[in-house]
Symmetry: C2
Subunit: 408 residues, 2 copies
């Protein structure tokens, strides 16, 4: 519960500790499909009535699925939190699916896949890249699902997944806004309290990665507007009570490619000896299992992906040899502190942060410690993390080229 009385509104979120990486084969996409189906009817609500009710109250609602969680949220006037809890509690236990609703919604997710993935060469390559990055772990699977498996997802698959995973003892409720803890507790007891827990709903251990022994290069050409180079490395995630390496990687990503003009990759590859028009690095350690550390670059017109990769490799090699610049390091620490302070200003953002973190197994203490841990990281820790993670044997590099036709 995050109290915030600046506006008479409340954000209500229910986070289930279940996501695409918890699906069993060959049902990829079922976690996301079920997220859609949760807006169909229950024994008390007609299909679509949930969102219509939120809208009628002047609020908005949505839901999202990741590899590690499925979450539902609404933002409404603070005095309507009771209605949200009543409806979320209702669909936590009372989902009612007809074959027809399932068939219709299956068309919706297939269309979503067509639009967001199948018609976007960059997105398709990202999907193939993840599948090549993870040799055994289900993080290699697309959240939306492989099309041929999505086509087979049935009402029974959805109900089985729902019954096995949706339960009050597998969910976290996060409320942020213009209410008091006492009010929230009373409402939660009224609406969620009566729901009986389920047995065996804790997250099962997923298949883990074997040692990765050989870098993978993937090359394709397509009608893309921009050619690009992507590289991802297998990287550790934040662990409860043990977040320093992930914090060091968070700083490393900022240092290498956080800021589009001042980060190391931008300075070296866009300005000093230009081969790229855009560079970036990405790392998010908030996950259940080992995740990825990503680098990205778009070549300057006239420069090849080979030029870009050679420049990137030189930036990394020089960085590993020469270490961190003290001024840049201090600047990044300041940026991170500022970003954290801005983030605290959004109760909805904080709700998201707590909800996600608790759902992947971190504690409230871990979340509260995180800003100080980031500030306490030393250059040596960043270099040690870089030496450990920037291991080509555990990496995938993708060259997404333009077809000759598209380049003309």
């Amino acid at each position: 519960m995050i109290e915030d009385h600046r506006a008479p509104a409340v954000t209500h979120m229910v986070w289930y500790k279940i996501g695409a990486a918890d699906e069993t084969a060959p049902h990829s996409g079922i976690a996301h499909f079920l997220e859609h189906l949760m807006f169909q009817g229950t024994h008390s609500l007609a299909p679509g009535e949930f969102s219509a009710t939120v809208e009628a109250l002047g609020g908005n609602d949505n839901a999202f699925t990741s590899w590690d969680y499925t979450a539902y949220f609404q933002r409404v006037a603070a005095d309507r939190l009771d209605v949200m809890m009543r409806m979320e509690a209702d669909r936590m236990r009372g989902l009612n699916l007809t074959e027809e609703d399932v068939a219709t919604e299956r068309q919706v997710i297939l269309e979503e896949r067509s639009q967001r993935t199948d018609s976007d060469p960059g997105s398709l390559m990202g999907e193939q890249m993840r599948a090549a990055q993870f040799l055994n772990h289900p993080y290699g699977r697309p959240i939306i699902g492989w099309r041929q498996e999505m086509e087979q997802l049935s009402r029974q698959d959805a109900l089985d997944f729902y019954k096995a995973n949706y339960a009050p003892n597998n969910a976290t409720v996060v409320v942020a806004g213009d209410v008091t803890p006492e009010e929230v507790k009373a409402l939660a007891e009224e609406f969620y309290g009566p729901l009986a827990p389920s047995e065996n709903v804790t997250r099962k251990a997923r298949p883990q990665e074997p040692p990765q022994l050989a870098e993978r290069l993937m090359m394709t050409d397509d009608r893309v507007s921009q050619p690009s180079l992507s590289r991802s490395y297998l990287a550790p995630e934040r662990d409860p009570g043990n977040q320093r390496q992930a914090a060091a990687l968070t700083i490393l990503a900022e240092y290498l490619g956080g800021n589009p003009t001042t980060a190391l990759m931008a300075r070296k590859m866009q300005f000093e000896d230009p081969v790229a028009v855009y560079t970036g690095a990405a790392y998010d350690g908030t996950s259940v299992d080992d995740t990825t550390f990503g680098l990205y670059a778009v070549p300057l017109p006239g420069k090849s992906l080979a030029d870009v990769e050679a420049a990137l490799d030189k930036v990394l090699a020089d960085f590993l040899a020469q270490g961190i610049d003290a001024d840049d390091f201090a600047r990044i620490k300041t940026q991170i502190r500022a970003a954290d302070i801005y983030a605290r200003d959004s109760s909805r953002g904080l709700a998201q942060t707590y909800g996600e973190s608790l759902t992947v197994g971190l504690s409230i203490q871990d979340v509260q410690d995180w800003p100080d841990i980031l500030q306490s990281i030393t250059p040596d820790e960043v270099m040690a993390a870089a030496q450990s993670v920037l291991d080509r044997k555990a990496s995938v590099t993708t060259w997404l080229s333009q077809t000759e036709e598209a380049a003309q």
Copy 2:
């Protein structure tokens, strides 16, 4: 039943329609582990007594696990078939495992992995290559298992897999040798007849591949005695009643790299313009799901893997442009016919062929039709199969280099 009265011996095989590709995550290696554990005791036999009995009868026995099957065989004097059937029927239903036996045998399979895989860079790379070839299908999993999952395999995992999959209605018995069909039928009815079938033991559909959109290149160096280049392409398997494309691929593999001195790759890459000391192609369509078509080459001393790959790509491009040489095609047909006739001479080999084929879903008719289908394949069918399968987007290419240290 394959009658063969040339020697007073009999081969007895039991093939279970269960293999490594039917394992559920994260239990890779359980099919193979169970194969080992089947030589532990039953309620009637002490641990090791099975093989000791075979040996005391002057016979030999063994077992093997693939992605699609687990099979047990013995070769003994023909008048001891009854003993083999009694013991196989016994362990089909009566396996008895102690925690201690399981712990000991787990050490055995881990040691087997150490010896055959972990200490062999080529084998390790083959494993990583398969994992990169299959983005979703469990053929990407090593039969022996990923080490970290093998270490966790428990007695209960083995018993669960055994109970779910070992049953008379999920097995094929093949007998070859100096017995009559009537004798075999009577013995089978006596020993296997009383075993009650299990419910739900038919093979479940496995996760299938999504479209593969980008070739993968994998590079590593290690202390190998020989550097090598491997490429595998996703390829269709033999389907019941529909074996022509697989037959064309079988001929294609022979044409490209079957014979170490006369095949196309050998002629072009070892003799006309030498870059390699060894070349080969491999395809075996006897599987449940899509499999691989493989090419392999070892560079001449002084030639790089890049030289070898360039030469290989030229061989393939010229082949696809120019088509098949009629004399070579005729020669290969003759070789295949001869190999088939030789194979018919071995009743044990025939038992293997029928056992494997029936276990992956082919019929006796499919097996009997196969030699004639191979002979009836036209050059056009081979070229069509080559055009379809030699698609770099569905391929993985591996460069296994020598470390500088090892090369000295």
